[in-house]
């Protein structure tokens, strides 16, 4: 098992809160992490098609494998500017 920190911003923060510690199996992908969260937070599921995965401050594919201590975030469509 590994433990990762997931941060939420913008509209997702209103659904989940600021931050969640997540216990995940080894060699688990971002996709699995999202599904685990979505099973606890119903409002999250509809966001799946539009969010991007960020690991340690970088955008990566949902198939990216997470490691212990990673800082993970699901990034809703940005609207700066």
């Amino acid at each position: 098992m590994i433990s990762v920190n997931v941060k939420f911003f913008g509209p997702l923060r209103e659904i989940v809160g600021e931050e969640r510690k997540l216990e995940l199996p080894d060699a688990c992908t971002g996709d699995v992490a999202f599904e685990k969260l979505a099973s606890s937070y119903h409002g999250l599921h509809k966001w799946k098609p539009s969010v991007r995965l960020a690991v340690n401050l970088e955008y990566v594919q949902f198939s990216h494998e997470l490691h212990a201590g990673d800082e993970v975030s699901f990034i809703p469509p940005v609207s700066g500017g």
Binding site: F9, G10, A54, Y59, V78, G81
Partner: protein, 142 residues
């Protein structure tokens, strides 16, 4: 020079910081808070950011620009927190020897900042509020 800041953006200071004795042209784009959005009257706007990631991506955009154009200096600054109508939300600025490069790079800068930097805008109307999600609004139940 890149920054996500809680304090008001000083446009003149940014322009002074990127002007160099070798640069003849500086293009500065200033994004301000509009009083309307999709036909609705906006009272104020709240910007929030994933700050360390936003600053990292803005630094990457600065480097991209320095690779793509022959320029002197770049500034990318975005404000977060509650903003009022007319407040400066974002500034991108490029100084260059040739104005072609300054205009093109400044345009690229604001497009990239709006497209990839993790910053979100929440609009407060006379009644209710909405997150701006990419180009769309999603009403917030409150």
């Amino acid at each position: 020079m890149v920054a996500v800041t809680h304090t008001p953006i000083d446009v003149e200071r940014i322009f002074r910081e990127i002007a160099t004795p070798r640069s003849g042209g500086i293009d500065v784009f200033v994004g301000t808070v509009r009083n309307h959005s999709h036909g609705k009257r906006v009272r104020q706007l709240e910007y929030s950011a994933y700050v360390p990631m936003a600053e990292k991506l803005m630094a990457e955009i600065e480097q991209e620009i320095k690779r793509k154009w022959v320029i002197e200096s770049v500034a990318l600054v975005h404000r977060v927190g509650m903003l009022q109508i007319g407040d400066v939300a974002v500034v991108t600025a490029v100084s260059a020897h040739h104005r072609d490069a300054a205009f093109e790079a400044c345009r690229y800068a604001i497009d990239r900042v709006k497209g990839v930097v993790p910053i979100w805008k929440k609009e407060y109307f006379e009644e209710g509020m909405a997150w701006v999600v990419g180009q769309h609004e999603v009403d917030v139940q409150t």
